[in-house]
Structure formats: structure tokens, C-alpha cells
């Protein structure tokens, strides 16, 4: 196999082009507010995403309260419940996870990991954040307009999304669609930057096959997003037309309250296709960065090279490509030609192959490794378990005959929360514990972290495992309350109440985490350089936390992949990517500065 260590190649091509000069901010405003530095933009993205994510968290508590104790809360009525569901789902998937993984981690890690001083077009990158912020502002505004936010479900299916029976059909839906369109525009500006930076702005010696898997995950996810968001964008534009101008792209002839509406001749199924052509790749837009990051966390904290690096890269690429041909598995109950169902079920199950391969490789990375049970490692392990769990129920739902009875039950809710809710969130937590020392120079508090992990991990299982069971009983999804439903035993309600209590406890643990984030800024243990002894470039900067321009006077030169851990014969148990083989013998407890080795030309 090609993956034996050490992998150093000492002859490094010389620089192909001179460095592009860097923009230097002069005033406080251009340094910290209208900043063009990817690291500052990353923090801005992350803070905004987490702030709006908290709204979604609070909405989930309200939903759970209603489900657990129906008829106890006079301030939640059925319309409110729909609005909560919709905003919770949409915020979690798009405004939190997508923005945090790509805008947050992408901005912070891509330039540092590929050895660049910044993104290729910092100005456009800055605009990306401000448009995102505008999108969030429009989204938040929809809570305050008459009629409130839309209650159409996060899938926004027409015709009901814009008909008067649906909450928020006056203004909420318009603001939702506008906000999504803005999000897509903002994302595109950032996404183009991420892709071009990875392709064209790597440092000397950094070949594509030496990129840390984190970069691969974010890179492929960004490409998916650039190709999948267009479908959502077009869908949004057409629905805005239908709602505001009264056109009938998605609207068939409809009689409402005995009145024939002026709509007619449109195709509601068209929207479903557009939505899921975006929606399924979206799952992987969230999952691929998580895959990448988790691979790096496992490798660093198990002091072992990632098993099957090339396979892992190709698996990411293949999963990304396949994710464009499975979308209609979300539409088995919408009515389609059985052959299509057959086709989409087959492609869906095929995706399981490269995905399973990744899981095996993670397991093999850990096999007989020197596992350190640090917080990032705990979260990474939590991810693997949760992801496998959600993946297996995905195999159930991918089959038409199994999906039809389970569709629109709590089983589906449990499935997607496992696979794209809890699993990526666990990776995000792990990644924050891992890179917080790089960003702030201080460690997060270990005790609070342990508490956070165990409550979140065990809690997430306690919340979502019962939901599988409720789904099998037939408890429907998106129901305000069940009332008296003959086929559902009354004990289901007790289970629901129990789940609600756990959900509140898990929510509380997140507050502890936030407190930890703030407290450790000033009171955390000083991290020092490279506290995890990681080999990838982001830890080899001159200053920690890295300053403007990321690296010192010279860009680092890369001699090896990012996974030289526990190399036999090396004095340390890791060899940073920028150490040539003739320097390995020296002591590297202090990471070498970028100027070690061959001089990089500079203009």
C-alpha cells in the first residue's frame, strides 16, 4: 500500500508564482469588523451560526414540551408548533450546520492547512459573511412580521406553503424564501474562495494527496454546495413568483373554502424535485466536513496515521458524486414510476459502500493505536457510533417497501437526527475542543468538557432511540398532539414525557458548554504551542494563535503527509508536515519554524 510511513519526499519543486501581496488592515474597523482576514471571518461566521443555532435549540425545547405534556402550555397552539418545527429544521440544517462547517471551519482551517496566507479573494470572502448575516437578519425578522414565520415544514412544499391555511403564509414564507436566496448568494462568494484556495493556492510541497482529510471534506462539500444550491435558489425564486406575483409554477388548480383560486396548471412535484436535488446533497454538505474532521481528530488523538488515506479521499469524492443521484428517495410516497423508485433505492444503497468503507477505516485507524481519551477523541468516538446508528436506519428507509409505512413517522425524525443532527454536532464539538487552543491560546476546561460530552452523548441516545420505537408504533411526525389514537398505546405518552425531560437536560449541558467557551477565553489553562502534538500545518505557525498572514516571513514547505505519528525511529511521536527527512533526527519537541529547511523565495 501507498500509505506506509514515513512518507517524506525531500525534493520540493520551487515556487511557481510570486506571492500575492496581502491586504493589511489599518483601522480597528477593518481589522475586526469589516475584516478581510479569513480567521476573523471564520469567527464571525461561527458566532453568528451558534447564536442563531441557539434559537433553534430553544425552539426544540418548546416542541418537546408540547409533545411531552400536551395541553399544558396555553402559549403553544398548533400553528405555533408548525412554525417551531419549520424554523428549527431550517435553522439547524442551513444557518447553523452549513454555515458553521463551511463558513466557520472552512475559513479558519483551509488557508492554514494548505499553507496559504489567506483565501484567494479576501474581499469577496468578507462580503460572503455580510450577506450571510443579512440572510440571518431576514430570517429573524420573519418572527416579528404579522402572522409570524412560515409553518410550512422545513421542506416548504407547495401548494400548502403559500396557501392561507398555513401559518406565516402572508409574510413569513416570503421572508424565508428571500433569506434562503441571500444565504445562497453569500455562500457562493465564500464557496468559490474555498475551492480556488484549495486548488490554486497551496504552498510548496502541498500536493492534493497530502492535504489533511479535513480540507478534503470541506473542499468536496463546498463543490457539492456550489452545484446543489442552484436548485434551491431556482425553487425559491419560482415560489416567490407564485406567492408575490400570482404565477403558477408549482400551483395546480385549487379550490379553497369553496372558492376556486386563480392558480392552475403548475407542478407541485417539480418543487419536490428541486428541493431534494438540493436537499440530499445538503446532507453530505454537512456530513463530508464532519467525515474529514473526524478522521483528523482520530488520527491525532490516537497517535496513529489514518488508515487508508487514499481510500478515504476517494470515498469522499465518490460519496459526493453519488449524492446527486439519490434525491428522489425522499419522494417515495409522492408518487412516481416504480422503476424510478427502484433506481433511487439502488443508488441509495450503493452509497452505503463507500460510507461503510470510511467507517472500517476509522475503526482500523484505532486498531492497536495509542488512544488518548481526550475530549476531541471522545466526541469523535461518539460520532462514529451515532453515525453508524443513523446510517443503518438509513438503509431501512432507503428501501421503498420499508419506507412507505415508516415515512412521516417519528422513525424518520429519529433517523435524520442521528445521522445529520447529532453526528455532525458531535464532530463540531470535538473540533471546537481540538482547535480552540489554536484560536485562543487556551484550553477549554476539561471537567466541564467531560460533563458536556457524557450528558450530550448519552442524552442524545436517550432522546432519539425511543423515537425509533415510537415511529414503529406509528406515531406520526409533525403532529401537534396525538389526542386519542386507537393504534397507539397510552404509554407512548409517558415515553414522550420522558424524552422531553431528557431533551431539556441535554439543552442545559449546551449552556455549560457555552459558559466554558467564554470562561476559558480568560481563565483557561495556557495551551502553549501545539498542545495535541499535531502534525498538520495549522499548528506549525510562527505565532500561536496565528497572526495576520498566518505564517511568518516564509511560507512553510511541505515534505510529507499530515499523518506521520508514532513513526518508528523518530525521536518524537509525530513529525510535522514541514520537516524534511534529514531534520527528523533533531529534537522537535519545539515545532520548527517555517524558515527551517529550504529557503522559500519571496518577493
Amino acid at each position: 500500500m501507498a500509505d506506509i510511513v514515513p512518507t517524506a519526499v525531500d525534493d520540493i519543486p520551487s515556487a511557481e508564482v510570486a506571492e500575492v501581496d496581502l491586504y493589511h488592515a489599518r483601522s480597528w474597523w477593518t481589522k475586526y469588523v469589516f475584516s478581510q482576514d479569513a480567521k476573523v471571518i471564520a469567527v464571525q461566521y461561527s458566532c453568528t451560526a451558534i447564536a442563531i443555532g441557539l434559537v433553534a435549540l430553544v425552539l426544540s425545547w418548546l416542541m418537546r414540551l408540547q409533545l411531552g405534556f400536551p395541553e399544558s402550555f396555553s402559549f403553544i397552539d398548533a400553528s405555533d408548533y408548525y412554525q417551531f418545527i419549520t424554523m428549527h429544521g431550517m435553522i439547524m440544517v442551513i444557518y447553523l450546520l452549513t454555515a458553521l462547517f463551511l463558513g466557520g471551519f472552512g475559513n479558519y482551517l483551509i488557508p492554514l492547512m494548505v499553507g496559504a496566507r489567506d483565501m484567494v479573494f479576501p474581499y469577496v470572502n468578507m462580503l460572503s459573511f455580510w450577506v450571510y448575516l443579512l440572510a440571518v437578519a431576514v430570517l429573524v425578522a420573519s418572527f416579528f412580521v404579522p402572522g409570524g414565520p412560515t409553518g410550512a415544514g422545513w421542506t416548504l412544499y407547495p401548494p400548502q406553503a403559500i396557501l392561507s391555511g398555513t401559518p406565516g403564509s402572508e409574510y413569513g414564507i416570503i421572508l424565508m424564501l428571500v433569506s434562503l436566496a441571500l444565504f445562497i448568494i453569500g455562500f457562493t462568494m465564500g464557496g468559490l474562495n474555498y475551492v480556488v484556495t484549495v486548488l490554486q493556492a497551496r504552498t510548496r510541497g502541498m500536493t492534493l494527496m497530502r492535504l489533511p482529510l479535513t480540507v478534503w471534506g470541506i473542499f468536496v462539500a463546498t463543490i457539492l454546495a456550489l452545484l446543489a444550491f442552484p436548485a434551491l435558489f431556482v425553487g425559491c425564486v419560482m415560489m416567490i413568483f407564485d406567492r408575490v406575483l400570482g404565477s403558477s409554477f408549482f400551483m395546480p388548480a385549487i379550490v379553497e373554502m369553496g372558492q376556486q383560486l386563480s392558480y392552475g396548471g403548475g407542478s407541485p412535484l417539480l418543487f419536490q424535485h428541486l428541493f431534494w436535488f438540493f436537499g440530499h446533497p445538503e446532507v453530505y454538505i454537512v456530513a463530508l466536513p464532519a467525515f474529514g474532521i473526524v478522521s483528523d481528530l482520530l488520527s491525532v488523538h490516537a497517535r496513529r496515521h489514518i488508515f487508508g488515506y487514499r481510500m478515504m479521499v476517494w470515498a469522499i469524492v465518490i460519496i459526493g458524486a453519488l449524492s446527486f443521484v439519490v434525491w428522489a428517495h425522499h419522494m417515495y410516497v409522492s408518487g412516481m414510476n416504480p422503476w424510478f423508485g427502484f433506481f433511487f433505492a439502488t443508488t441509495t444503497l450503493i452509497i452505503a459502500v463507500p460510507t461503510a468503507l470510511k467507517v472500517y477505516n476509522w475503526a482500523l485507524t484505532l486498531w492497536r493505536a495509542n488512544i488518548q481519551f481526550t475530549l476531541p477523541m471522545l466526541f469523535a468516538l461518539g460520532f462514529i457510533v451515532t453515525f453508524v446508528n443513523g446510517g443503518i436506519t438509513g438503509l431501512f428507509l432507503g428501501n421503498v417497501v420499508v419506507d412507505v409505512p415508516l415515512s412521516d413517522t417519528m422513525f424518520v425524525v429519529a433517523h435524520f437526527h442521528m445521522v445529520m443532527g447529532v453526528a455532525p454536532i458531535l464532530v463540531i464539538f470535538g473540533a471546537i475542543y481540538h482547535w480552540y487552543p489554536l484560536m485562543t491560546g487556551r484550553m477549554l476546561d476539561e471537567k466541564m468538557g467531560q460533563f458536556h460530552f457524557w450528558v450530550t452523548f448519552v442524552g442524545a441516545y436517550t432522546i432519539f432511540l425511543p423515537l425509533h420505537y415510537l415511529g414503529l408504533l406509528g406515531v406520526p411526525r409533525r403532529y401537534f398532539e396525538m389526542g386519542e389514537t386507537s393504534f397507539i398505546p397510552a404509554s407512548a405518552q409517558d415515553l414522550n414525557a420522558f424524552v422531553t425531560v431528557v431533551a431539556l437536560i441535554v439543552g442545559f449541558a449546551q449552556i455549560v458548554f457555552l459558559f466554558n467557551l467564554f470562561r476559558s477565553l480568560r481563565h483557561g489553562k495556557v495551551a502553549g504551542r501545539n498542545p495535541w502534538k499535531a502534525a498538520s500545518l495549522e499548528w506549525q505557525t510562527d505565532d500561536v494563535p496565528p497572526g495576520h498572514g498566518n505564517f511568518g516571513e516564509h511560507l512553510p514547505v511541505v515534505y510529507r503527509w499530515a499523518y506521520d505519528y508514532s513513526v518508528p525511529g523518530a525521536p518524537d511521536d509525530f513529525i510535522p508536515q514541514n520537516v524534511p527527512s534529514n531534520a527528523v533526527a533533531e529534537n522537535h519537541a519545539e515545532a520548527p519554524s517555517a524558515a527551517d529547511g529550504i529557503e522559500a523565495p519571496r518577493t
Binding site: 479573494f121 474581499y123 486548488l199 490554486q200 497551496r202 436548485a231 409554477f249 392552475g264 407542478s267
Partner: protein, 219 residues
Amino acid sequence: MGDWSSDQRAFKNVPWGKAMMWIFLVSDTFIFSIFLLSYMTVRSSTTVAWPHPSEVFALSFGGEPIPLILIAIMTFILITSSGTMVLAVNYGYRKDRFRTAVLLLATAAFGAAFVGMQAFEWTKLIVEEGVRPWTNPMGAAQFGSTFFMITGFHGFHVSIGVLFLIILARKVWRGDYDRGQRGFFTSRKGNYEIIETMGLYWHFVDLVWVFIFAFFYLW
């Protein structure tokens, strides 16, 4: 493969701006393709007959309706503008400031003429024929809505292009790219490569028009 995955740059000798434009255009291709696919879908889902394009898009000269005449002129103009754009790129690389600026302005003028004619066509449809996004006296309402949406989206692309062409022409004229003048917003030194990048965008917008033309006017 080896070459792509080699260090520093996957595409050798491709400047950042050009790479970025290519990737943007791929994404934009998806947008336009999905617009056109949606158009085909609603055209087949609607229950009312689709109007005949050759009758709708006809202009009368001296009482004789000539089908598709306006659109033929518009298409011709847009394709001509691609020609002037190619020349502008060419002279740009030779740093011939005067010719480059003039050719950029000519391209912009063609583009503006195109948008102007489109505005004329819209006015005719709206005022004379009474077509609206929600109704269409000549048949399916989706005819109007798809037409306005897609040609509008394309016209928006052309207008943006015209704007940038004028800005570029001004910069070329002033010699910004010879002096390494820094951009007002980006504070980055520009160079003549930007004209080629602009050209990519412009040709793309042209190419998209050919498809819109085929699907709307010839089908």
C-alpha cells in the same frame, strides 16, 4: 492525474481570478439549466395550450408580420459582442490601452442595445398583448411567467456584464493595469488578466442566450 494533484496549483498557469470565474460559471450553468428544465416541466404540466412563439414574437413592418425578426437581431447583436470581446482580450494582452478600451466599450454598447431591445419586447408583450406573470390572453399563463423570469434573469446577467465592462474600460483607459493601481474596494493590484476573466463571463452569457433562444423561440 499526477499533474493535477501536484503541489501549489492544480491548474498550472491559471490565475486565481480565472479559476474562480470558471467555477462560478459551472455553478451558474446549473442555475440556468434548472431554470430551463423547470420551464419544460411546467410547459408540459399546464393544462392550457401553449402560444405559438412565431406568432407571439413577430413584428409587423408595413402590415406584414415577420416572425422572430426582433429576436434574430438581438441574437446577432449579442454574438457580435462576443467578437468584440475576443478582440478586447487580445489587445489587452498586448497592453494596447486605446484599442482595448474602445473594444470593451463597444462590447458594452452591444450589450446595452440587447437589453434595450429586450425591454422593448417586454413592453410590447405587457402593454400590447396583455401578458402578465399570472395571466396570458394567448394561452397558458406559464408562458408569461417563465418568459419573464428566465429572460429577466438572463437580462440581469447582461446588465451586470455591461456595468463591469464599462468599469474595466475606464480602468484600462486610465492605465490602472500598467501602473499596478490598487482596486478601490479590494486594495489589490489589477492586471490585464481580468479582461480575459471578464471575457469568460461574457461568452458564457452569450452561450446561455443561444439555449434560451432555442427553447423559447424555436420550440
